[in-house]
């Protein structure tokens, strides 16, 4: 009732046209036929790529480990179906550049035969460490788009003795409804997943934040969590980017994560609802993460819906499954339209991060010419991070990146609100992505320059040492010669003496 006083004022954000109604009322389609060939990149997560351990020609069963995780922050990948490994080679990645990434190509045998699974008798009796271990082994990563290995986050949470688990059911991106449908259809499993995560982190309570434009999902989740007093389902206003974890956390708990800290530093861990479901599958049924629910939408899609598809399916096949008109397609986007990336083509595989595939028409994108900035400060008003996008873009335009950093460039989350609101269609977000990448490049260049200096010093020292050694050698040789001469002289003198 006094929600106005209970919650801190939301900063920034835009009311986007939702365009969710095409897919939010249709059940998840689980009848997607297993494709003939699956393309499974070894890097589908933040951190080090996984290392393949299968050989070309080897037969694998569904759920079998294909590549193991390397290092502290990494995640394994598993076979989404049974079949034969056809190849391990470079293949276009689902990335705006479509540059190649190391990919395991699996030819399906059509049997879809599971390997032997070993689910625990009572998953809730498992030790917390064991839960984390199983989550890690199943290759579960953040499915909201960040794809950070979930086990690492759980372990971090346990070590930092966090109190609150925030489950992000915001799904603030237009078009996307996969989390919405998951919550409507699989609420009980998600709640179980949340309980397992709580146990894995030894945390006390969980808050599930859901945007108020998903009343069905809120009802389903409330019903499923009724018997657990430590899990509360909270409504958050629908305003992009509500799904930014820091925004939602601030709204629900009033806590703000310091700029140089992580959520765990203030006793909170944030996970996505789909991740909770994947955790449930991984721990209760010992099933690795080999498929995910994807929203297929956009005006070029004939039958927009949510599809559960195996990881590694080519996007073009999923689009074809949903009757997409490729002539009307002007842009293919992986993810939502705000933060998602435009792909040069759809012959690229679905990965764990892929929560949506949009085939947008020219009318939906509606590209407009870039005009002069009129300083209307709409971008300042909508920025959820409290930045000055117009000012930063002005500085980046003239390549003054350091001065852009001075006014907060590094706090930009690339949410796209500023570009969305700009009446002059200035690609502000693009400027910031460029500048942030350029800064990394500069940092690397600096690192290289230091390395160069070190290498040169080493070389100079080595040359100096060689020179000194050569000198010493010459000295020794000279001395030896002198000694030899002296000896000869002495011998000659002695000889003379004896002859005398």
């Amino acid at each position: 009732m006094f929600a106005f006083f209970e919650h801190p004022r939301l900063r920034g954000g835009v009311h986007t046209e939702e365009r969710k109604q095409h897919t939010s009322r249709i059940p998840i389609n689980t009848a997607f036929p297993t494709p003939k060939k699956l393309y499974i990149p070894v890097q589908q997560h933040v951190g080090k790529p996984a290392e393949p351990l299968v050989k070309v020609g080897e037969s694998v069963l569904k759920g079998q480990l294909l590549a193991y995780s390397q290092g502290a922050i990494s995640a394994p990948v598993h076979a989404p179906t049974s079949g034969v490994i056809a190849d391990v080679r470079d293949f276009p990645a689902p990335h705006p550049s479509a540059l190649p990434v190391r990919t395991i190509i699996l030819e399906s045998d059509g049997l879809d035969a599971w390997e032997e699974l070993h689910p625990p008798a009572d998953p809730f009796a498992l030790e917390p460490e064991e839960i984390c271990l199983r989550v890690g082994a199943a290759g579960v990563v953040g499915l909201g788009g960040a794809v950070f290995p979930s086990a690492v986050k759980l372990n971090l949470g346990r070590k930092n003795q966090i109190r609150t688990l925030l489950i992000n059911g915001g799904e603030c991106e237009p078009y996307l409804t996969c989390d919405d449908r998951m919550m409507q259809e699989r609420a009980a499993e998600i709640i179980d997943g949340v309980r397992l995560m709580l146990r894995g982190m030894l945390a006390e309570r969980a808050i599930i934040g859901i945007e108020d434009n998903k009343p069905e999902a809120i009802r389903a989740m409330r019903a499923a969590s009724l018997e657990y007093s430590f899990i509360s389902v909270e409504t958050v206003p629908a305003r992009y980017p509500m799904g930014w974890d820091r925004q939602m956390l601030r709204y629900l708990t009033g806590q703000e994560i310091p700029a140089d800290a992580r959520a765990t530093d203030i006793g909170v861990v944030v996970h996505n609802v789909s991740t909770a479901y994947a955790v449930y599958q991984a721990v209760t049924h010992a099933k690795p993460l080999i498929s995910r629910v994807i929203t297929v939408s956009g005006a070029a899609v004939g039958k927009p819906q949510n599809v559960e598809a195996p990881i590694g399916t080519l996007m073009s096949e999923i689009l074809a499954f949903c009757d997409t008109d490729s002539r009307k397609t002007a842009r293919i986007v992986m993810g939502g339209p705000m933060m998602g990336d435009a792909l040069p083509h759809a012959e690229t595989p679905v990965v764990k991060a892929c929560n949506g595939i949009l085939a947008l028409t020219e009318a939906e994108i509606d590209p407009k010419p870039v005009q002069a900035c009129i300083r209307c400060s709409a971008c300042v008003t909508v920025c959820p991070a409290g930045l000055l996008p117009l000012e930063m873009a002005n500085r980046i335009r003239v390549n003054q990146l350091d001065s852009a950093v001075d006014i907060g460039l590094k706090d930009c989350i690339s949410c796209g609100s500023c570009s969305y609101a700009c009446p002059s269609n200035i690609p502000l977000t693009h400027y910031f992505k460029f500048a942030l990448g350029e800064l990394v490049k500069r940092q690397q260049a600096e690192h290289k320059s230091e390395q160069t200096k070190r290498l040169m010093d080493e070389r100079n020292q080595r040359l100096e040492r060689i020179r000194l050694e050569a000198e010493a050698e010459a000295q020794r040789a000279q001395e030896a010669r002198a000694a030899r001469l002296a000896a000869q002289k002495a011998a000659a003198a002695a000889k003379q003496e004896t002859t005398v």
């Binding site: 460029f434 490049k441 040169m456």
Partner: protein
């Protein structure tokens, strides 16, 4: 009368201030220029000579004396130019600055004779190999100074742009409006 006194007073004032400035310049002179050292620290330090000066220190000296522009260093690029401009307190228009694409040397295995000339001149030991064996360039250590290209007798060393991969891919700058 007023005009006259104003002229006299202002002239006297000007002379006095000018004199004191002259005196100050003579007695408060800074001996060595710490700026040169600061600038040298910022520079890549590979003494590659692409700026036209024999090394990074001479280039730094030229910068301080105002003979060279802050954009002189191709390997440093606009990042260095921005830092230099800040240090020297000058305005620089970098809006049209285009960083040269970083290049690394690569050995063509067909024509390399293993003459070792290249790795003798490499300032960062980025070329490995042994006499009569094919040499190779360690791309991470190569700074693109092109010294090896100059000495190679068979032209088997060529400069190539660094290969773009998912790891080093960056967003391009948006087309200017």
């Amino acid at each position: 009368m007023y005009v006259l006194s104003a002229i006299i007073i202002l002239t006297a004032l000007g002379l006095l201030l000018g004199l004191s400035l002259g005196v100050a310049a003579k007695y408060l002179k800074v001996e060595s220029d710490p700026l040169v050292e600061k600038i040298e620290d910022l520079m890549p330090g590979s003494q590659c000579g692409q700026c036209g000066y024999p090394g990074c220190r001479p280039a730094a000296e030229a910068l301080v004396s105002g003979q060279a522009a802050v954009t002189l260093c191709p390997p440093g690029g606009s990042a260095l130019a921005e830092q230099l401009a800040k240090l020297l307190g000058i305005e620089v228009d970098l809006s049209n600055a285009r960083d040269q694409e970083p290049m690394v040397a690569r050995v063509s295995e067909d024509t390399c004779t293993g003459c070792t000339r290249c790795f003798k001149v490499c300032p960062t030991d980025a070329i490995v190999g042994a006499p009569k064996q094919i040499h190779a360039v360690v791309a991470d250590a190569c700074i693109g100074c092109q010294k090896c290209v100059a000495v190679c007798p068979t032209e088997c060393l060529q400069m190539h742009p660094i290969e773009v991969t998912l790891r080093n891919w960056r967003w391009p700058k948006p087309l200017a409006a």
